[in-house]
Amino acid sequence: MRRAPFVLLLLSAATAALAQPGSQRPATSPPPTASAAAGRCGVCHPSERVQFERSTHAQEEVRCVSCHGGDDRSLAQAVAHGAGFLGRPRRDDVPRLCSSCHSDEGKMRAYNLPVDQYALYQTSGHGRRLAKGDMQVAVCSDCHGAHDILPRSDPASRVFPLNIPRTCGRCHGGNASAAGRRGKPDDHREYLSSVHAHELFDRGNPRAPTCVSCHGVHGAAPPTVGDVDKVCGHCHTAERRYFTAGPHREGMIAAGLPECVSCHGHHDTSATQPQRLASLCATCHGGKSKQVTLGAKMWTEYQAAATQIEQAAALIERADAVPIQTDDYRARLEEARTYLREALPAAHAVHEETVTGLTTRARSVGAEVASEIYGNLGHLQSRKLVLVVFWFYVLLTVVVLRRFQSRAARKD
């Protein structure tokens, strides 16, 4: 009872502070001391309340006491922090605490959310190290936030696709202060220079791969030798098909070399560079080996086909300026481009006939289109020959008319 005046004073001061213009809430609607989501906790914990009320939890039936325990109807600390009060959960308790709801199919079914995150987490690098007592590894709240949890689809969420590299980079990036983190400090920066990041950030494609696309989400763990091609093959299906058909996979696994990334780089994967066919083989194989020769040959074949297609495309532009009907040529050139595009995944089989079969087809279609357009343009040249005949008749007509004219003049 002695505390009651103090609490009332605090209450009125908090109300006045919140009601002032310039404070976080608009002055016209002073907040009630008790809200549905936060109860009366927000009276003493205003910043947590503000964060929590923006979260997706606050809109569902989750309340402060769901995680922290206690009694949110009381302003008396002894009562509020009384029976069943948990306080701030320990880090190693967080996954279990979240899973108390999120592993409950009965609760999650209505939201159509999966319930396997906790099980997955326990298999992840994070989960296994946490089990060993490493309190520095990421728990649920490190990636999802504690009070301000937002759905994955919300651009402000830490786990929105465009925000994932930054979220992971808080620990795994170059600025991560704590020692003992897995991965090189440059991984985050290298990813930012990759074609994947370019697709994600510069072209705004939310389906572009982020950290979790290759490392897993709740079960995050780096792919091991023998798994890398499966991970990359999620998206690069054709490349993987040719790659597994070729000799490289077995050989690389035997040598302990990770597939795909040994040639394409780990995090700084660049866009397609066909010219590397000519140079990259020599990094593992000897400078004069037959493998290096094969690589150079594939590059030459590819180049020849690409040049032929470019030439045909330039001719189509010329024909359009006349104009000549080119829709058919465009369609066929697109077919040639498809063959050429297929030649690059096919190069992963490092098998000569597989690649040259495609490049030769691309080249022959391109050459066919080019020669047909040349024929049509040459056909136009014949108009100039007709012009000579035309002028003969024009001059003949003029001569005849002059004759008539002079005869008429004589008559007059």
Partner: protein, 391 residues
């Protein structure tokens, strides 16, 4: 029963006096037609239009009248090099014929304009030829009309009593430029579209005229409304106006003649028949030149217009480069520059009112000097407009 009396009668019907034999042994269709139609009256339409100088007695037979008219003396000056007006009339006829042929396939909407033009040029037999003839004909027509204006100025044919001749010539030049400008837009390719946009920027910058035109076109944006209005202007209004001023030119020529220095019957006069032959030869040669241009220097086909991407270096058509340079880079506010341009245009139109009336050689010489200076200034501004950067 009713046919019975006709069996033995004359086949052509017995009502015509002395002409019952129908077409004679030489196929005298003129006589046959003349019994049914007053050919002389029809022929007199030409005299009314101005091609023939003398009035025609419509009660006389047509052969006689034509023979007489064909032997009429024609002033010697109606020959080379004073042939520009005639060339303009022939080219106008060619533009009408080719334009009608193009109109059979052309569709004036932004979606279809480019496609239908491409169909004409690419897929129709000789469509490219008609299209190129129309384009090159327009080019020559602009040149001819401009040259004709210069020649009328040089010879002082704006002075009394030939003010109407001058006004007609100015109006015809203006109408031809308008036709050229509206016609350029119709293909709706990237170059034509952006040339029209730049050109309209100049026109919209003029005081009074600009806002009025924007009101009539429904805005300052080149869109589908402008396209269909340009189309209507190009194929209905402007050709009708040109035909009217052509008629006015002939009409005033019959009254005042073309040249004070060479009156009707002085010098080596020829006959009208001779003159018509020359005209025919000229037409044939013109057709030859146009065909050669169409084959050897065809207009390149551009990509479809895209209002959201401006190609580099687009400028208004060449005849608008001088006003474009003034509006874009001239000193002072644009309304003042627009006012200046309008003043110049009105000065040209109203030349007969302020030019010295005296027919003396000195006054004419002074005017020629002024004209040369104006032409030099105009050329310089055009060159400036062709190479300057936009502000």
């Amino acid at each position: 029963m009713s046919d019975a009396p006709r069996v033995g009668g004359t086949p052509g019907g017995g009502d015509a006096s002395g002409g019952g034999a129908g077409p004679g042994p030489r196929g005298d269709w003129v006589a046959w037609l003349e019994r049914r139609l007053n050919l002389t009256e029809t022929f007199s339409f030409l005299t009314h239009f101005g091609l023939v100088w003398t009035p025609v007695d419509t009660s006389r037979p047509v052969r006689e009248v034509v023979r007489e008219v064909a032997s009429q003396p024609v002033p010697a000056y109606a020959r080379w090099p004073r042939v520009l007006g005639l060339l303009a009339a022939i080219l106008f006829g060619l533009e009408v014929v080719t334009g009608v042929l193009l109109a059979y396939y052309y569709r004036p909407t932004p979606e279809a304009a480019f496609e239908s033009t491409r169909t004409i040029v690419r897929d129709l037999p000789f469509g490219w030829f008609i299209h190129q003839l129309h384009g090159w004909g327009a080019w020559l027509l602009v040149i001819v009309v401009a040259a004709r204006l210069l020649r009328l100025f040089w010879d002082g044919l704006y002075r009394a009593p030939r003010e109407v001749l001058w006004w007609s010539a100015v109006a015809m030049a203006w109408l031809v430029l308008q036709s050229d400008f509206t016609g350029r837009l119709l293909t709706w390719d990237s170059r034509s579209y952006w040339a029209a946009v730049r050109g309209m920027e100049v026109v919209f910058a003029l005081p009074v005229v600009g806002p009025l035109l924007a009101f009539l076109l429904g805005g300052r944006v080149i869109n589908d409304d402008v396209l269909i209005r340009f189309y209507a202007l190009h194929m209905l209004v402007l050709p009708a106006g040109f035909a009217f001023f052509l008629y006015l030119t002939f009409a005033t020529l019959r009254r005042v003649g073309l040249s004070p220095e060479a009156p009707m019957h002085r010098g080596a006069a020829t006959t009208l028949r001779d003159h018509l032959y020359s005209m025919l030869i000229l037409s044939v040669l013109l057709f030859g030149v146009l065909t050669t241009l169409a084959v050897l220097a065809p207009f390149r086909f551009q990509a479809a217009a895209d209002p959201y991407s401006t190609p580099t270096g687009v400028r208004p058509p060449w005849y608008m480069l001088a006003p474009y340079a003034v509006i874009e880079n001239g000193p002072g506010p644009s309304w003042l520059l627009g006012l200046l341009l309008l003043a110049v245009a009105f000065a040209v139109l109203l030349l007969p009112l302020w030019a010295p009336r005296a027919a003396g050689g000195r006054a004419l010489g002074r005017m020629r000097l002024w004209g040369l200076c104006a032409l030099a200034a105009w050329t310089a501004l055009s060159v400036l407009g062709a190479f300057m950067e936009r502000r």
